[in-house]
């Protein structure tokens, strides 16, 4: 009974979950994949035409580079700002610690969508609209990251820090030589979550990007969908595949960290 139920659930899971991926791959990598799925063709040949079509389009390369810079830049900024702050909160003498920590906790409650409008006004008055800087900057303030790294650094044994202090290691040395190695796996988990979130982000680029120059991959895909009306889904699915591929590779390589990162999401 239990075995049968479980097997049925598993088969359903596999079929339903994987279906969109299989459809995407079929349409993107064959010449008449959609017709095959529709029953209008009995066979389809593997082809790289659609991928080639997308890659030869210079615009897509620009979107790819933009998205990489935005996702990477955001992560770097978040880490540079949040890791030291988490260390200071957890381990260093810090006047106003209570107030600062309360401000971090309160900020956790604010959904970033609520901030979009004033941030838009701010970015345009700074003349940053339609730039990658505007795409990166607002996400650098991450109360979630500060809170996360504070929790991580709280687990450091005090003896270790005391020993370091006796050896004459300063606060910055403690962070880089003792703190960072301990935080490495938390940083990796946070990185996977942050990279995929900003690679996928649609709302903020939709507001900030106005021309091709600052367009990210999600915006590029939507544009492509809107412009290329018709039933030829091959190139669009190939473009989708190219957007998903880096994330899937990262997921397969860092799956353990990803799962750990997901349990962080609950901290919020």
């Amino acid at each position: 009974m239990a075995g049968t139920l479980a097997t049925i659930a598993k088969l359903l899971l596999l079929g339903l979950v994987a279906l969109p991926f299989m459809v995407m791959l079929t349409v993107a990598l064959t010449d008449s994949g959609l017709m095959l799925l529709l029953g209008g063709a009995s066979q389809a040949e593997l082809t790289l035409t659609h991928l080639g079509h997308v890659l030869r389009d210079g615009a897509y390369l620009t979107y790819f580079i933009n998205s990489s810079i935005v996702a990477g830049g955001t992560l770097l900024g978040q880490l540079l700002v949040s890791v030291p702050a988490g260390f200071a909160l957890a381990r260093l003498r810090l006047p106003g610690r209570g107030l600062f920590f309360a401000a971090v906790l309160a900020a956790l409650v604010v959904p970033h969508e609520v901030l979009a409008l004033p941030l838009f006004v701010g970015m345009s008055s700074l003349g940053l609209m339609d730039t990658l800087v505007a795409l990166i900057l607002p996400s650098i303030a991450s109360p979630f990251a500060i809170f996360l790294f504070r929790q991580v650094f709280l687990t450091l044994p005090q003896d270790l820090l005391d020993a370091a202090a006796i050896d004459g290691i300063g606060s910055f040395g403690m962070l880089t030589r003792i703190g960072l190695p301990v935080a490495a796996s938390a940083i990796a988990a946070f990185a996977v979550i942050s990279l995929s979130a900003h690679w996928n982000d649609l709302l903020w680029p939709l507001i900030v990007s106005q021309t091709e120059a600052s367009r990210t991959v999600p915006l590029g895909l939507i544009n492509y969908r809107n412009e290329e009306s018709g039933d030829d889904y091959g190139p669009l699915m190939a473009a989708c595949l190219l957007m998903v591929a880096p994330l899937l590779i990262m997921f397969l390589a860092l799956q353990r960290h990803f799962v750990r990162g997901l349990t962080f999401l609950g901290l919020k």
Partner: protein, 290 residues
């Protein structure tokens, strides 16, 4: 600790404090200010108008309809996510090679690019060329316009939300299941309880606090589901899938009514804040108490 200088701590905390102030607190108060003013991207400074914007969104009936859509979508999306996530966790609990593989597959939708996979869904649901259409034709039915029919749009979006998010629920449930004592389960089994009894007596009670927790996480994600609406329906057809988060975007950046958008944003913030505070007060206390 007190003998050490405060300088390094302050220096390390300063960038974060400045970033929070400039990029989070300042814009937040900007939204609050705008919600009570009559400013819409004009050069003139904002003027205080009290509750006029809120009266406006109520009078236009926009808030009510939008809230209704939001709550209906959240209800379907969250219940679906909880149920499928729980089933997947129970089914894949034992650590076997196959289960490990299936766990990875369950996380693919969450991981893979949202917009790209939404476009795949759009193609599959296309009533003319989508594979979904053929399926209906096989059974002699007319293809349904999944995203273009007012009654169907919101449930369809909820199904796609469940597809995206059940892996997250599964991971959280699995973390919870790992906590149920193997010994207790063993004891119940020796007492002659079957799989269903064991599930009812031992594991579901243990899962209740986790379920509440997953509920809150899924609920907040459902309220924030912008991509789904923006890519697949743009609030349509005829406003049937116009959720609060999409309405905020639409008012601000399509109709350029900044004050109205700010008022809606404040409503959205209160909704999320109420959920988070309830979670902190009820759930975290219950967990600490147990």
């Amino acid at each position: 600790m007190s003998t050490r200088a405060a300088f390094p701590g302050l220096l390390m905390a300063l960038p974060a404090a400045l970033a929070l102030l400039a990029l989070l607190y300042l814009p937040f108060f900007g939204t609050v200010l705008l919600a009570f003013s009559d400013w819409s991207f004009t050069p003139a400074p904002p003027r205080f108008v009290g509750l006029a914007n809120f009266e406006r969104i109520l009078a236009e009936g926009r808030l009510q309809g939008t809230l209704g859509n939001t709550l209906l979508f959240a209800l379907m999306a969250v219940c679906g996510t909880l149920l499928t996530g729980l089933c997947a966790a129970l089914a894949l609990e034992r650590r076997t090679v196959l289960n490990g593989l299936l766990r990875s597959v369950a996380l693919l939708p969450l991981m893979s690019a949202s917009v790209a996979m939404l476009l795949v869904w759009e193609m599959m649901l296309n009533p003319i060329v989508g594979p979904g259409a053929t399926l209906f034709a096989l059974f002699g039915g007319t293809p349904l316009h999944w995203l273009g029919e007012p009654r169907l749009a919101l449930p369809t979006l909820a199904v796609i939300f469940v597809w995206q998010n059940f892996g997250l629920a599964m991971v959280l449930f699995l973390a919870g299941l790992a906590g149920t004592e193997a010994q207790i389960r063993e004891a119940v089994r020796i007492d002659g309880a079957g799989w269903a009894d064991e599930l009812r007596i031992v594991r579901l009670p243990a899962l209740a606090p986790i379920a509440l927790f997953v509920f809150v996480v899924a609920l907040i994600r459902a309220l924030q589901a912008f991509d789904l609406v923006a890519v697949l329906t743009r609030g349509g057809p005829d406003g049937a899938s116009r959720t609060l988060i999409y309405a905020i975007f639409e008012e601000a950046f399509r109709y350029f009514r900044a004050d109205v958008a700010a008022a809606l944003s404040l409503v959205f913030f209160c909704l999320v804040a109420a959920i988070v505070l309830t979670k902190v007060l009820v759930l975290d206390r219950a967990m600490r108490g147990s």
